[in-house]
Every structure is written in C-alpha cells, then in structure tokens.
C-alpha cells in the first residue's frame, strides 16, 4: 500500500539555476497526482527530488523537507534506501539491454542481492500482470532481451520493473511522451488500475492525460507551484489566472 508524501519548503538548484522554489505540497496516499506545466517549469526536477534522483547529478542540490509516510527522506535514510521504496518510470523506456525480460523485471531485486527463485518467479508474474504485459511476453521471458520489445511494451516492462520491488510510491516522469497513442492509452489504463494500491505521481505535459488519470493536479510554472487542487477544480475553475491561461492554451 502507498504512503502519502508531504513536501515542505523544497528548493532545488542545478548549478546556479534555481529550478524549484519553495514548493509546499501534500500528495495523498493511494491516489494519482498529476503535475503539469510547460517544459522547463521544474516538474521533472520535483519528482526527481522525491526519490533523491536529483542528487545523482553532481552539480545539483536540494533543500527542504520531504516526508514519505513518517520518514524524512533527506534526513532519516540514504538515497539508496529511499529509492528502494519508490518506483520510478522514466520519460523514455530504459530497459537493461543485456538482460532478458525476466531479468529486467526483477533487476531491482537481483541487483540488490535477492536470490529466492520462487519469489522471483512469482514477482515476475505478478508485476508483468500488473503492467498488463504478461500475456504478451510470458512465453519468452528468458529467451528475449528486454530491448527487443516494442517501445510501448518496453515502457510497460519498465513499469513492471518498478512495481517488482513492491514500492509504496510510483513516480512517473512523462511515461507516455515517447509512445504512440495506443501504447499511451494502455499506460493510462494501467495508472488507473494501479492507483488504488500505490501513491502515484505523474508528470505530464498532456493536460487531457492529467484529467483522465489523476484526482489531484498541481500546476508548475518557472520553478514555482502555482496551484494545487483537485483535478476537476483545476480544469474547470482554477483559482490562479496563470493556471487558467495555461489550461486554456494561451501559452505553453
């Protein structure tokens, strides 16, 4: 089951660029939360701060408090421990090219030293089913390389890989932006299915996508969070003029 995320006064920098300014936000557990905004507005940086991927870049840094459940992720745990509790799906599918589909899905377990064959087998089946990919690949799990799948299948495999570690939070950074419409709709269906079990944060530049999958939506602009509210409210009656301009297509 997922946990809620509380963000207080989060600031982030890339070198000298102040990419996130004073973000305060509560992401409820077991729901999907969408983050929208024009490119470069800081929404990707924001999700990368939620599992401390932001700091893998040597010139990047972040301050503030992010609480995941009762854990303050910047003070109570190491980045590695946090990332094990948070699944992440990236903008472009990034399977491990040298691994089979099977190994790709359980890579988070195997690379962390988990060796129980029975549980690994179960996990592959469970997560591929959750990612709606099981039927398509169950016959050549160990025969085919993860990189041999189509783009949409690869992305679903990456979702399965993120789910295999049994995370509490699932971060998705524009998961469908590199995919065709059919694959996109499959991914959206998936998010819809998964959000009752995981806390999902999805970054998207596609407003219809946000409207379709998320209960709550936050609008980012120039490193600041302009507005955060229920998706319905954001799209029908936004409080801020800039949000209204954005969703009505007046810029961005």
């Amino acid at each position: 089951m997922g946990v809620g995320i509380l963000v207080e006064d989060l600031n982030a920098w890339y070198g000298t660029t102040h990419t996130l300014q004073d973000i305060n936000l509560h992401i409820p557990a077991n729901h999907a939360t969408a983050l929208i905004g024009p490119s470069g507005c800081g929404k990707s940086t924001f999700v990368r701060c939620l599992n401390r991927m932001h700091e893998t870049n040597p010139i990047a840094r972040a301050t503030g408090v992010v609480k995941m459940g009762e854990i303050d992720i910047y003070n109570d745990a190491s980045p590695v421990e946090i990332r094990r509790r948070v699944g992440m799906v990236f903008q472009r599918p990034n399977p491990f090219p040298t691994m089979s589909i099977y190994d790709n899905v359980v890579s988070g377990l195997k690379l962390n030293g988990f060796r129980n064959r029975r549980i690994l087998d179960e996990t592959v089946e469970r997560s591929l089913k959750q990612a709606a990919l099981w039927e398509e690949v169950k016959d050549d799990l160990k025969k085919k390389s993860g990189a041999s799948l189509s783009g949409g299948q690869q992305q679903r495999m990456c979702i399965a890989r993120a789910l295999a570690v049994d995370p509490e939070v699932l971060l998705m950074d524009e998961p469908a932006s590199a995919l065709d419409p059919v694959s996109t709709s499959k991914i959206e269906d998936l998010i819809f299915q998964l959000k009752s079990q995981y806390t999902i944060v999805i970054v998207t530049h596609n407003m219809q996508q946000a409207a379709r999958v998320a209960e709550n939506t936050g609008f980012f602009l120039n490193g600041k969070m302009v507005e955060f509210d229920s998706t319905h409210k954001i799209f029908t009656n936004p409080r801020d003029k800039r949000t209204e301009d954005y969703i009505t297509g007046r810029f961005g």
Binding site: V80, G87, F90, R92, N94, F96, T98, L111, N112, Q154
Partner: protein, 291 residues
C-alpha cells in the same frame, strides 16, 4: 555572352589544374602508404609460411650450426609473460577507466588522469624496460619473467583505461538512472549495469592492448631477457617470441633468419586477428540501449 575576361579564364584553368594535381598527389600518397604494408605482408607470408612446420611449434631452438628447431619455448614464454601482464594490467586499467567514466565526470582530477594516461601512452617502451629493470631486476639480482610481465602491464594500463572510458561513455545514461532509481547502489550499478553493457567493447579493447604489448620487444630486453630453453619459473629469465625474433634477425645464420620470419608470421597473425575483431566490433557501432 562572355562574362569572363581572358585572365579570369586562365585563372580558372590553373585552379582547376591545381585541383586535379593535388587530388592526384593524395591518391599517390595513399598508394605509397599501402605499398609497404602489402610488401611487409607479402614477405611475411612468402618467407614465413615456407618456414613454418610442426617443429616450429614443438621444439626449442637448435644450437648454432644445426638445422631445425623451433620456438615452442618462446611461444609459451610469451604466453606466460602476457598472462602475468594481463593479470596486473587489465584490472587496474579497467578500474581506472571506471573511475574516469562513472565517478570523475567533469572533475579536474579525472581530466588530469586522462591526460596523464595519454602522455604515458607515448612514453617509449625502452624507457619502461629500463625502469622496471632498475626496480625489479636490480633488486632480485637476475632477469625474470615477472619483471617482463610488470613492464608489459605498465604499458597496457593507459590503453585499457582510455578504451574502458570510451566504451562506458557509449552506455546511455538512462540505463544507469534505471538502476539507481531501483535503489541499486552505485558500485553495483557500475559493475552489473555499466560495465556489463559495455563489456563487448571493453573486452575487445583489452584484446587490442594485449595484441599491442604482445609484439613489444624493447621492454623485455632487460626484464624477461630471453632463454634458449624451457623455463616455467617466474623468477628466472624466460623466452619471448619478439625477443627471439630480434635475436635471430640480427644473427648471421640463414637458418635463424628463416625462423625469425616464421616467428614474425605467427606474431602478426595473432595481432591481426585481434585488431580485426576490434574493427568488426567498432563497425557494428556503439551499443544501443533503451531506445
């Protein structure tokens, strides 16, 4: 209508002639460069193949004046020295390459290491030879296979470091992020994801370094020293193929010249096979990960 003056037309003719002339020179240069290569290969095959026989691979050198004999001990000796060199040089080289590609991005120290590796690559092999002589042979008081191995290892390190770095740089960053995002520690990501993905390139890079030191003679002159007999003792002088070729080539005996050609052919075949493999790999292009 004639827009060109007479001088312009002449000028154009000169320019065009220069163009053809220079192009011709370039083609001639290319032919001149390929010619010695073909000549060397021709002589190697012509003189070497006729001297190759089973005895070459099974016998030790015959005493002066006797015909026959082979370079079996040199081939095995080269194998032993190269094994020692690889044992020391490959892990250090790969580790240094991993540092450059995975930990040192953009750091001044990494740039300094990279630069030093390139400069070390250009240090003459004879200088490596006398340095290792001064360090090991002088201490041990005799020439040894071990000293030869160390000398070649030192020569392998910079090459392997740079290849490893180049090959790791072809691994898409997104794949590292995928592993890090799963909570895989950085060391495990470097080994099981980056190195594993780049491994075909790194292996061929190591083979290339191996092939290059396999033909080195100068660093072995005062370290491995050479030996006319079988030796498997790492602290004793040992025979090596390039050393034996050198000794035979500058000897006055026809029989030995014959063996030198045969030895060179064996050496070159070994090296060409490695280099060709590298080439095939390079042509296949960088590794494609993700999509």
């Amino acid at each position: 209508m004639d827009f060109e003056s007479k001088s312009m037309r002449r000028n154009r003719a000169t320019r065009s002639a220069t163009n053809y002339f220079v192009s011709g020179l370039c083609i001639l240069a290319t032919i001149l460069v390929i010619l010695p290569l073909l000549a060397i290969l021709f002589y190697l095959i012509y003189k070497g193949a006729s001297s190759l026989n089973l005895a070459f691979f099974t016998h030790v050198p015959a005493p002066v004046g006797e015909t026959g004999g082979g370079m079996a001990n040199s081939i095995v000796g080269s194998g032993i020295i190269l094994f020692l060199a690889s044992l020391m040089g490959i892990p250090i080289g790969i580790a240094a390459g991993v540092y450059l590609a995975e930990f040192g991005r953009g750091k001044t120290l990494a740039n300094a290491v990279r630069f030093t590796a390139d400069v070390l690559n250009g240090v003459p092999s004879i200088v490596m030879g006398i340095s290792i002589y001064s360090l090991i042979v002088v201490q041990q008081k005799h020439f040894s296979a071990l000293a030869g191995g160390v000398a070649l290892a030192v020569m392998m390190v910079p090459t392997i470091t740079r290849t490893t770095e180049e090959m790791l740089a072809t691994v898409p960053h997104a794949i590292r992020e995928a592993a890090l995002g799963l909570g895989v520690p950085k060391w495990r990501t470097a080994i099981s994801v980056s190195l594993r993905t780049a491994s075909p390139g790194i292996i061929t890079g190591c083979m290339l370094a191996f092939a290059r030191v396999a033909g080195e003679t100068a660093p072995l002159l005062f370290t491995a020293f050479g030996n006319q007999f079988w030796s498997f003792n790492l602290s004793q002088p040992i025979a090596a193929l390039p050393l034996q070729i050198y000794v035979y080539a500058i000897s006055p005996y026809d029989e030995w010249h014959r063996l030198a050609w045969a030895g060179s052919l064996v050496l070159i075949v070994l090296i060409m096979v490695s280099v060709t493999l590298v080439r095939i790999f390079a042509n296949r292009g960088a590794l494609k990960g993700g999509s």
